[in-house]
Amino acid sequence: MFDNKNLSGVVGVTKSGLSAVSIRDVRKTYEGGVEALRGVSLELPAGRITALVGRSGCGKTTLLNMCGAMDFPTSGVVEVAGLVTTGLGDAALTGLRRNKIGFVFQFFQLLPTLTALENIELPLLLAGARNVRATARERLDWVGLPEKADALPWQLSGGQMQRIAIARALVHNPAILVADEPTGNLDTASGDLVLKLIRRAADEFGAAVVMATHSAEAAAIADTRVRMRDGLIESVE
């Protein structure tokens, strides 16, 4: 269904077999000398949810961005969908994001000028996919908001916006779902609904879900909880 030509000819196929994301001894130092990650290794298997927990500034978001091929290590290796991200050019990275990764953000990040359905269609349109409308409707139904197809974001509640964002993140069947504080801006009831959808995403789509969260409820649905502190993994449960 998707055009994988951007991925062809790229070296660095993963050695980790079933892991959708493999992170090995990754360090990240930002300009100005701030060390965000100080030697982190992690495997994100398909169909499993990994929760990254820890205080603000512990390196969760940096790690999350690396899983989404949006940030790159200073040293160490990040393999996403079998590709070493540091070895990829812009076109290949774009292809990777288009086809293999879905993102969910704390503040939903829906385009305010597009309707719910159009927001869901967007990744497919950008990828030049076919059957855009039908696929997007399927996902809209999947998140339980078929009647909101033509609603603009400001006409939706926070929970509904996040469900639309999840539908958008999953519309292209990504191998990896990256979620940054997905319930951080929601009330408990809405948060629970969203967490159920994320669980289903892993179970039904087989996506490797990596989620940064401060919420105990969110951490509770994860298969693996990775506690981070000062750029290092403190524990894995």
């Binding site: 978001t61 961005n65 989404g68 949006m70 940030d71 812009d90 076109a91 774009t94 292809g95 994001r97 288009r98 086809n99 993102f103 953000f105 503040f107 990040q109 385009l111 305010p112 000028t113 597009l114 159009e118 269609e121 967007l122 990744p123 349109l125 950008l126 990828a127 030049g128 958008r168 292209h172």
Partner: protein, 817 residues
């Protein structure tokens, strides 16, 4: 002190932070101000030197005695005999062509007694490389330069008056008598006595009056240029509005914080007006320098036009006075502050809590589309209403106001127009691959207020280009059709040298006879033209052989039968007048014109009004016999030669060239004259196109500026679509699609406004300013080409913002919010 600190932090700092946007805004104001200044300076320089520069040679002159058709030389004896302490000096003023060098004004004066010497101005000496004791040849006679008068910025040559009369064959006739009253003598009493001595048909006026008269004649021309120059400033005003509106939206949270810590609403207003004022001052200052440069380029173009259709003048120097600099800065700054008023007021009304809330940082513009449409309708009705009135003091003031109302109407329609067109384009936009069309259309519609302003600014510039384009093309077509009917003779003769408005050098008396006797020549129509004054304004009096004109039916009349009108002229005190003359002086068929000719005042009945596009001054034409009755010695100035049927025009021309070799006349075939007329026409409108071009450039800068603002404001959105898999090309395409949409919307709105304005220009402003009837001929291909070009430039204006969008870091863009 507190205000200064506030100004530094909240006015200067944001301007410095956004260097590129500040520079683009400053540049658009600078260009707007520069055009206004340049047109004024160049206009002054091109028209400011009518005053003869002879004062340095003959001293100060108090009065001048002039007469239509020339002053009788014998009058001077009567004046000299008056019992007053005053000097009376006879002057001849003619234009003379120098072999291969150009033309200068030639003065015949009494102060030079040696008939073989000449005194020249420093300007002429510099221009032609003359020095004392050089020999110069004027109309076949040699003169020795006796002296160069320094400090002269106009080219002239002075010779003995008798020699001058001999050169031009104007024996017994003077162009004027200059009166200089001795100190201590009662000037008013001298004037009374002089008036009583000269014939009643003569005029006694101060030398400044002539210059004022010339300036008055040019006022419509200069007014139109000036109004045209305001377009860039108007376009600039829309852009200032936009810049400040963007600034208000961007700094909404900052405004909230300021309000929360105790800054008053007035303080917030002051911050944004201060920002506009700062942009205005810097832009205007830069505009003055730019305007000075631009003026040097324009002065030649304006001077050409003035010389071709109004009156002969020599361009002076371009000089910026402190006053005009101060006025420019005040104008530029006022326009900037005034344009910023609405967004600044909006900023001052922001409630602190609302401003600091995250959601309200989205661009929320209060739009009242329905109310705006009602205002647009009212403005359109006002425009139509204002167009119905006549000129005020010879100027189409209400016509200009109507234009402004039409622009205001378009500005008010703009939001409804933009959203309607984008709605219409929804389906085709969605078909652009990669969601570029979808996002571009939606984001423009979402920031409707801002999009409308950019579209209006660009549409205003485009509409001016279209309306002036239609007007000029219609005018050109009308003139060409007129030339075809007017110029039917095979050959045209006039005195050699550059033709100039209001200057009619005489042709030697024996030339018509020589022509008539040339084999192959049929009819010879002699024309006697000279400048005369009517109701305080200059016009041309001409006399031709009406029988020949009638036979060749070269004149078209507004009403009545050409043949019977022309038949009624010979032997009668009847004249025909040109359309501009009729409009300017409100003359209708059957009216009686009292015109001073020589020593008498004649009463002529207007027999007809004919179409004429050769001069704005206006013509009054009689039969040659009628003119001779009043001015028997009036020389021939132009000759039209009709070749006999079957004769070879080329051969006749060669023969005429041979026979007239010693008479300093130029012989031009019909086609050459027509071509020259069209060239003059095109040159006349060159300055118009230059001003139009600058307005378009200002609008382009504004478009780039606004697209940049849209990109920077939508950093998060652009970052997000990168997360969702957009590549470089898709982001670039999105911004370029927005630019293309802005261009398309502006072209659509500009086309509608331009069509309306062209009607206003042709039927109201042109008619009231110059009195010409122009047939409507829109140049469709040219307009389509120009619109396409502007559209391509608009897309090009999106290239830089697209580059910025492409380089945005998605992680930072999404997480900074």
């Amino acid at each position: 002190m507190k205000t200064l600190a506030l100004a530094r932090q909240f006015v200067l700092r944001p301007l410095r932070r956004d260097k590129l946007r500040t520079a683009l805004t400053v540049l658009s104001i600078a260009l707007g101000v520069a055009v206004v200044i340049a047109v004024d300076l160049a206009g002054d320089a091109a028209t400011g030197s009518f005053q003869s520069s002879m004062t340095s040679l003959v001293g100060k002159v108090d009065y001048e005695v002039t007469a239509n058709g020339g002053v009788d030389e014998r009058i001077i004896a009567n004046l000299t005999a008056l019992p007053v302490n005053a000097k009376f000096a006879a002057v001849i003023e003619q234009h003379v062509t120098l072999a291969k060098a150009g033309s200068v004004t030639l003065f015949g004066v009494e102060q030079l007694v040696d008939p073989a010497v000449a005194v020249v101005s420093s300007d002429a000496a510099d221009r032609f490389g003359w020095k004392v004791d050089d020999s110069i040849e004027l109309r076949g006679r040699t003169f020795r330069i006796q002296k160069v008068i320094t400090g002269q910025n106009v080219g002239w040559v002075a010779i003995d008056i008798a020699a001058a009369q001999q050169l031009f064959g104007t024996y017994g006739r003077l162009d004027r008598i200059e009166v200089t009253v001795d100190p201590g003598e009662d000037a008013a009493a001298v004037e009374r006595l002089v008036r009583a001595t000269v014939p009643a048909a003569y005029e006694v006026s101060s030398p400044g009056a002539r210059s004022e008269e010339n300036q008055r004649m040019l006022r419509a021309f200069r007014w139109n240029l000036r109004i045209l120059s305001y377009i860039s400033l108007l376009v600039g005003a829309f852009l200032i509005y936009n810049t400040i509106a963007v600034s208000v939206v961007r700094r909404r949270a900052e405004i909230g914080i300021l309000r929360a810590i105790g800054v008053s609403a007035r303080g917030v207003l002051a911050i944004f007006l201060g920002e506009a004022a700062m942009l205005g001052v810097i832009g205007s200052a830069a505009g003055i320098a730019l305007g000075r440069l631009l003026a040097s380029g324009l002065v030649g173009m304006i001077s050409d036009t003035v010389n071709s259709i109004f009156i002969t003048s020599a361009p002076g120097t371009v000089a910026v006075s402190w006053l005009s600099a101060a006025v420019a800065i005040a104008t530029g700054t006022s326009v900037a502050v005034f344009s910023a008023l609405i967004p600044a007021l909006e900023a001052s009304r922001v409630a602190p809590a609302e401003a600091m809330r995250r959601e309200s940082r989205e661009h929320q513009t209060r739009l009242h589309v329905r109310r705006d449409l009602v205002i647009a309708g009212a403005a359109a009705i006002a425009a139509i209403g204002l167009s119905q009135f006549g000129p005020i003091d010879g100027r189409p003031v209400l016509g200009y106001l109507a234009t402004l109302c039409a622009v205001a109407s378009a500005a008010m329609i703009s939001p409804a127009f933009v959203s309607a067109v984008i709605r219409l384009l929804r389906a085709p936009l969605a078909r652009i691959p990669g969601a570029a069309g979808l996002i571009a259309g939606r984001s423009l519609a979402a920031s409707l207020a801002r999009t409308s302003i950019v579209v209006t600014a660009l549409a205003t510039a485009i509409s001016m280009m279209i309306s002036v384009g239609i007007m000029v093309a219609s005018f050109r077509e009308t003139v060409q059709v007129w030339l075809e009917s007017q110029l039917r003779a095979d050959l045209y003769l006039r005195a050699a040298g550059q033709p100039s408005a209001g200057i009619f050098p005489p042709i030697a008396d024996e030339v018509p006879g020589l022509i008539a006797s040339t084999p192959g020549v049929g009819d010879v129509d002699t024309f006697h033209a000279f400048t005369f004054r009517y109701e305080g304004e200059q016009a041309t009096f001409g006399a031709g052989v009406s029988d020949i004109v009638r036979r060749h039916s070269t004149l078209r009349f507004l009403s009545g039968d050409a043949d019977s009108i022309l038949r009624s002229l010979p032997g009668q005190d009847r004249v025909i007048v040109s359309e501009p003359f009729s409009n300017k002086h409100h003359v209708r068929v059957g009216d009686v014109l009292r015109i001073a000719l020589g020593n008498q005042t004649a009463a002529f009945t207007v027999a007809g009004i004919y179409y004429d596009y050769s001069s704005d001054r206006g013509f009054v034409i009689s039969d040659v016999g009628t003119l001779r009755k009043y001015l028997p010695k009036q020389p021939v100035t132009n000759i039209a030669v009709y070749v006999s049927p079957g004769a070879d025009a080329q051969k006749v021309r060669r023969e005429l060239d041979l026979r007239l070799a010693n008479y300093a006349v130029s012989v031009a075939p019909n086609a050459t004259l027509k071509r020259a007329a069209v060239e003059v026409f095109d040159r006349t409108f060159a300055v118009t196109w230059a001003l139009e071009g600058i307005a378009i450039v200002v609008a382009m800068l504004g478009t780039a500026n606004s697209l940049l603002a849209l990109v920077l404001d939508r950093r998060r959105e652009i970052g997000l679509i990168r997360y969702l898999g957009a590549d470089d090309g898709q982001v670039r395409r999105m911004v370029l699609t927005e630019a293309a949409l802005v261009g398309l919307l502006a072209a659509g709105l500009g086309l509608m406004l331009g069509a309306a304005l062209s009607v206003e220009l042709i039927y109201v402003i042109n008619r009231q300013s110059f009195g010409w009837t122009i047939q409507f001929h829109p140049p469709l291909e040219l307009l389509a080409g120009a619109l396409l070009l502007v559209w391509i430039f608009t897309i090009a204006a999106g290239i830089y913002p697209a580059g910025i969008a492409r380089k945005l870091q998605p992680v930072e863009a999404v997480h900074e919010e």
